[in-house]
């Protein structure tokens, strides 16, 4: 297949074979602006903040802390939090602690498949600096080098109460319009990609997983 020259709008997708190139979209993601009318944007942010759909993807040991959220004791439903099994419909990605390189690849893929605005909560200390896995050959040390993080909840492991507090904090941030991680990702797309590719050696997916 003859591929048009790499321009601003298309990605190279060098990780794919020629046959696979046509099966994946190679468009470069774009930033989105806030709505031109401030009131609309505020309203939208309010709606987004009160309807946080968490992607049901347990990426580390923190996944176990997410489960009690839905129980009678914590009842995150009150805050409009719900689990969603597909990234297409989710708006919050909770990174549950350490992320191994293998998982990171899946995290990136799922994150990119989520539709903006989307938010990332990094749970525990591991995404911050590696935590107890700081010297592991297989676990990344700084999660925000690979994906933008909107909110950190540290601890090893944070209790669900903290998680609830974090969600409330995230809602505040969203309402204030300060959660622009998705846009930052696009803005520094090349930097993030370079970092990602530095650790993920078998890059057999398109550069952006639409």
């Amino acid at each position: 297949m003859i591929k048009s020259l790499s321009t601003e709008d298309t990605l190279e997708n060098a990780g794919l074979t020629e046959e696979e190139q046509q099966l994946f979209c190679n468009a470069r993601p774009k930033q989105y602006e806030p709505y031109p009318i401030k009131a609309v944007e505020d309203f939208a942010n309010w709606a987004r903040a009160n309807s946080l759909w968490i992607l049901a993807f347990g990426t580390g040991c923190g996944a176990i802390e997410l489960r009690p959220l839905m129980t009678a004791r914590f009842d995150a439903n009150r805050f409009g939090v719900a689990g969603r099994p597909t990234p297409r419909q989710s708006s919050v990605f909770v990174i549950g602690g350490y992320a191994s390189v293998k998982t990171l690849k899946r995290i990136i893929r799922s994150y990119e498949q989520m539709q903006g605005p989307k938010f990332v909560i990094a749970l525990g200390i591991c995404p911050v600096n590696g935590g107890m896995y700081f010297d592991s050959y297989n676990t990344i040390n700084q999660f925000d080098m690979y994906l933008p993080v909107d909110l950190y909840i540290t601890g090893c492991m944070p209790r669900p109460e903290v998680l609830v507090a974090g969600i409330v904090e995230l809602q505040k941030k969203i309402k204030q319009g300060r959660c622009d991680g998705a846009n930052r990702y696009i803005e520094n797309f090349d930097w993030y990609k370079a970092n990602q590719k530095k650790v993920i050696k078998n890059w057999d997916m398109p550069d952006y997983n639409w």
Partner: protein
């Protein structure tokens, strides 16, 4: 039984670690026949796991097969020494189908080859690993981690022993024994 094994397979270093767990050592070439004998004749039908101990000082890998007999609740730990530098090992995937998963893991983590084992060279946990196998003791994982994954400033780590002494058991003040 152990005597018979000694006689027929030249098993050495028989050690009863605790009741119901005995370790023994066998030569590389006799491993497969020994394990087959144990599985088919002696009732050690379960392969608990297989793993490797890296004796970098002696230049050997000790491969450990843990077999279990459900009838008399006895476990045998079979040790096989192989050379550390590229010597390959007999595959037992035809005895237990799950063995090839272990062998794949050992290949990835230690670089030990098991000729004939299926899907041996596929990535297991590490996708796209481009260094020496990470579980070999000569691999400096901290250095690798800092080079590859970076290091966030401001991190302080404590020596656990010191930390516990100071914070958790201040009264015992360092007197060991």
């Amino acid at each position: 039984m152990l005597e018979r094994l000694q006689r027929e397979f030249g098993v050495t270093d028989i050690n009863e670690l605790k009741p119901g767990l005995t370790s023994l050592k066998v030569a590389r070439d006799k491993t497969e026949t020994l394990i087959r004998e144990l599985r088919d004749r002696e009732g050690y039908t379960h392969l608990n796991f297989m793993t490797v101990i890296d004796y970098i000082e002696d230049g050997i890998f000790t491969i450990v097969y843990m077999l279990h007999n459900y009838d008399n609740k006895d476990t045998l730990s079979i040790h096989v020494d192989i050379g550390r530098d590229g010597e390959d090992m007999v595959s037992i995937h035809h005895l237990w189908a799950q063995a090839w998963t272990y062998q794949r893991e050992l290949r990835e983590a230690y670089g030990i080859r098991f000729p004939g084992s299926p899907r041996l060279d596929e990535d297991f946990v590490l996708e796209g690993w481009d260094q020496i196998p990470p579980m070999r003791r000569e691999f400096d994982t901290k250095k690798f981690s800092e080079e590859r994954f970076g290091h966030r400033e401001g991190r302080s780590s404590e020596e656990p022993r010191e930390h516990m002494k100071v914070n958790l058991y201040p009264n015992r003040g360092g007197d060991e024994q």
